[in-house]
């Protein structure tokens, strides 16, 4: 039985297409590296200034001057480049990064995302999240369906300060894969063994479900 995070990551890996430039946010999305098929020709972008990073081989001694934006020591793959941080964000703002995966505190049915600040509790700064959220064509949120108290994270309307408005394409949780559409939040896949009524009860957002087309994961 895979853990919730393993289920999310295995499903998320299926979103990546060979030939893409992809950014992996800090935390859970960074672990997606280990779920991508090795044959996939993908260059992973990191905000500090790398295109084409990959994890170090297990046990390899790190080059102290090669890290990703999360602070992990990295290696580079064929076709990689390193550059300064202004250029790295030019690449983002000019929409040369095709796909990004990010975590979320809250995400809503309009595709609004809140993942940088909980006023009074958590405000370490915004890092590169705002520019990635606003400019990358396809933003996939990877997060738990509910917070640690069981409260829904998939909302009708975000309450926390936004990272960017109307920026999310798709949300992958351990319970469902949901696509943000003009009509609302459409359930694409539902987790094995879960029924729609239980999913709705765990979700504040209105969900559009077509049972005939519903996939499992």
């Amino acid at each position: 039985m895979p853990s919730d995070q393993e289920r999310i990551l295995a499903r998320a890996a299926r979103e990546v297409v060979s030939g893409q430039v992809v950014n992996l946010g800090i935390g859970l999305p960074t672990r997606l590296f280990h779920y991508l098929p090795p044959r996939l020709e993908v260059l992973v972008h990191s905000e500090n200034g790398v295109l084409g990073c990959q994890p170090l081989d297990h046990g390899a001694s790190p080059d102290l001057e090669m890290i990703d934006s999360g602070g992990a020591y990295i290696d580079t793959r064929a076709g990689a480049s390193v550059f300064d941080s202004a250029l790295s964000f030019a690449m983002i703002r000019r929409r040369r990064v095709d796909l990004t995966f990010m975590g979320a505190f809250e995400v809503d049915q309009q595709g609004n995302l809140a993942n940088w600040k909980i006023p009074g509790k958590f405000s370490p700064g915004i890092g590169g999240a705002m520019e990635l959220a606003q400019k990358v064509e396809t933003l996939v949120v990877l997060c738990s369906h509910n917070d640690k108290h069981g409260n829904p994270k998939i909302l009708r309307r975000c309450r926390l300060p936004l990272t960017a408005p109307r920026c999310v394409s798709r949300i992958i949780t351990e319970k469902a894969v949901m696509q943000v559409t003009d009509a609302g939040l459409e359930v694409v896949d539902i987790a094995e063994g879960l029924d729609v009524a239980t999913l709705r009860a765990a979700t504040e957002a209105e969900l559009i479900v077509d049972e005939r087309r519903l996939g499992r994961f």
Binding site: T30, R31, F33, S46, E47, N48, G49, V50, P55, L56, P62, D63, L64, E65, M66, I67, D68, S69, G70, G71, A72, Y73, I74, V82, F83, D84, S85, A86, S88, F89, A90, I92, R93, K117, S123, P124, G125, I126, G127, G128, A129, M130, E131, Q134, K135, P161, L162, T163, A164, P165
Partner: protein
């Protein structure tokens, strides 16, 4: 600007020129590219009431974390301080003023000053909390935020290789904000693991031409060990 043939100097002499109250850009994104030797000398010499401009706050016991912990920094202009619990605590207690910018805007504000401009127009952060307090203008039928450039009195940068005139070559992800900061301050102090006589570096491989650099100091490569950290991935 210092004359070409008078730029190479000692750590002590380079840092001694920095007064109390200076605004100082510090290279580095996390540990790589952080000029640890220059920062330790600044700690040792005791300058106070500093304004630092750095991507992040390092970690509590290294780099600018040591200056913050010693109470030498009044103000920090940055993007993310999540790896430094001391900086977060100092901010929450009101002892450290922290100004947060989206990472790419921070880099661009520095790049802009280094290009001799005074600001730029952007759509980043419109309709979010960071738009509060920013001036917006109508131009070409759209609304833009004005982002003023960030300039500083001093920049402390790290290069892998330099020559005695101050030409700089960075290595790996240690490049990050260093070449931007090396153009955006009035007085630029570069540390390098090796400083060669002029003529030893291939002209086409120079990242920062020496005209931007005021002083260059050779430092022990072992000083980078300060930044070695456990990593999870």
């Amino acid at each position: 600007m210092t004359l070409l043939n008078q730029k190479q100097t000692s750590l002590e002499a380079a840092i001694a020129g920095i007064p109390d109250g200076a605004s100082i850009m510090v290279g580095g994104f996390g540990s790589p590219g952080t000029p640890f030797a220059l920062l330790d000398e600044l700690l040792a010499q005791g300058q106070r009431h500093l304004t630092l401009i750095k991507n992040d706050a390092n970690e509590p016991d290294i780099g600018i974390g040591r200056l913050i912990r010693a109470g030498r920094v009044d103000r920090l202009i940055t993007s993310h301080i999540g790896l430094n619990r001391v900086a977060i605590e100092e901010m929450n207690q009101g002892r450290l003023a922290v100004e947060i910018h989206p990472q790419g805007l921070l880099a661009e504000k520095i790049r802009c000053a280094g290009a001799g401009h005074y600001g730029f127009l952007t759509d980043i952060g419109l309709d979010t909390e960071i738009a509060e307090g920013r001036r917006e203008i109508e131009c070409e039928g759209r609304t833009w935020a004005i982002e003023p450039a960030i300039h500083a009195d001093v920049a402390l940068v790290h290069a892998d290789l330099a020559d005695a005139y101050g030409n700089l070559i960075y290595r790996g992800t240690a490049i990050n904000l260093n070449p931007l900061m090396a153009m955006a301050a009035d007085h630029v102090i570069a540390q390098a693991f090796r400083v060669e006589p002029p003529g030893q570096l291939a002209p086409a491989s120079i990242h920062t031409p020496c005209a931007f650099v005021s002083q260059v100091v050779q430092v022990d490569p072992a000083t980078r060990e300060q930044g070695r950290r456990a990593h999870a991935v």
